[in-house]
Symmetry: C2
Subunit: 317 residues, 2 copies
Amino acid sequence: MTSTVDIEKLYRGDRRTVARAITLVENGGEGAERFLTGLFGRTGGAYRIGITGPPGAGKSTLTNRLAKQYRALGRKVGIIAVDPTSPFTGGALLGDRVRMSDVETDEGVFIRSMASRGSLGGLSKKTREAADVLDAAGFDIILFETVGVGQSELDIAGAADTTVVVLVPESGDGIQAMKAGLMEIADFFVMNKADRPGAEQAVMSIRMILGFRPHDEQSWLADVVMTTASEGKGIDGVTEQIERHRTFMQRSGGFARRRADQMRARVEEIVADTFTVQFWNAERRAALERTLPDILERHRSPYAAAAELLGSARDGR
Amino acid sequence: MTSTVDIEKLYRGDRRTVARAITLVENGGEGAERFLTGLFGRTGGAYRIGITGPPGAGKSTLTNRLAKQYRALGRKVGIIAVDPTSPFTGGALLGDRVRMSDVETDEGVFIRSMASRGSLGGLSKKTREAADVLDAAGFDIILFETVGVGQSELDIAGAADTTVVVLVPESGDGIQAMKAGLMEIADFFVMNKADRPGAEQAVMSIRMILGFRPHDEQSWLADVVMTTASEGKGIDGVTEQIERHRTFMQRSGGFARRRADQMRARVEEIVADTFTVQFWNAERRAALERTLPDILERHRSPYAAAAELLGSARDGR
């Protein structure tokens, strides 16, 4: 598999090579790990932006517009969509499919959708690894698009340098956003579909909640930017805010701290994945099958079974 | 901690004891594990039903109605809500809060919401453990309510005996449901808000896709049940379908197979969690901190660092 990916062509940003490299990474295994170890020295240059929010907030449209804006500034843009409701991924659980063709035909934009189905666990690892491939291939900006319901948005906050939470007037007020845990992960908010009734009040209520958070002159203050992404309105405001956050984080040391936290989590994740693959050899699989009937009949607890299996590993059995 | 939970009172279904026991389980650690090991022999009797679907499909309302229906049949009902948009959890990301008070004041119903925020990983484990507590406390029916966007619905399919996917006419057609991975996990569908325009067509399109799946006389055929949960319409149809699925699964051996698969996954999960807790002792934490700057400067890959840490574990260092 590795032989099909020409690393020099990857560094030159060759699109077919990039596509093959991400497939290699998605397939996982030792080949993928060797490959990622090889290109790791070329990573770290790209700026990673997470775009999250509830379904129907217009995340794909905004991502599309941001990509165009960055292209106009001469940057190469990689898009990783991990949202099953995104038109990028072909999911569209809740309907209307926006046209992505404008950026899809641009040579300076690379779009990859990662399946969030059937790949329980390991998705956040693979998302980061795909970003590494794009990073090594010379993409300047990486946009992660992910739906912000459930746990995925926390994952993305753990992979991005700047996290943007997209809401619409219908998403509810600031208190609801706070309860949903969005205040903790948003570096700033975008109120999209700002031409709809209630947009001003929604922005005000989020600003009010944001104002209540403890902060001083040295700390970053999240704000709300209004857009109508479908008409391209307010997009400069978003890129400006991203730039403002980036500059602030780089000056304050927050950028380095965040990347350190993310890398720590990444090593932990690799440790856990490697352990799991090595642990479940044929012998332990067979031992689990032998004890399973006892557990199902409640003669034995799954905790006791797990402890015994782990004990056998410790004894080198 | 364990001392505060009286196991005999739990078996009698004392509500305050149940609440305390679930908190103990949520806090995790060795106390939780000992406690769960102790009550494991009393579990397995409850029937576990997963209710999933996109935000705004009316899952909470349906869950509420199902709880009432089962109460009318004299069953005790436990509800575990892991949906950040659910009114049960107090999240309500997308608005309208339904009244839960009818079931909340019923002694035969126990509602617990589990935070899906800030608890990256471990949530599916804790959800199952909370279900075990309710099971041991004599609840006959356990309803899991979870939002079906992202990965959570796969988790719930791995914890439930019957998985119900709730859609609304606006959710899109059968092809979209298929793309979103819902066909694989649904034991049957509920088309809620069936009084809205487009409901019949939506049902037909899902039935058409379902009809294309390979099946024979021996296999279960998922169907679509129409409801207007807010008015209590069609709820009998849902409980009948659950009963039909339960009977089918028990006769065909599918029930036992599914529970075996779930228990296997559960042991794997406990093994992984236990390993992680034991692995990251103070010494290995310190080793990771020492190597982190090298990784951040790209002199070293996180894969190499993980391999070295794992090597030290193997050498007994």
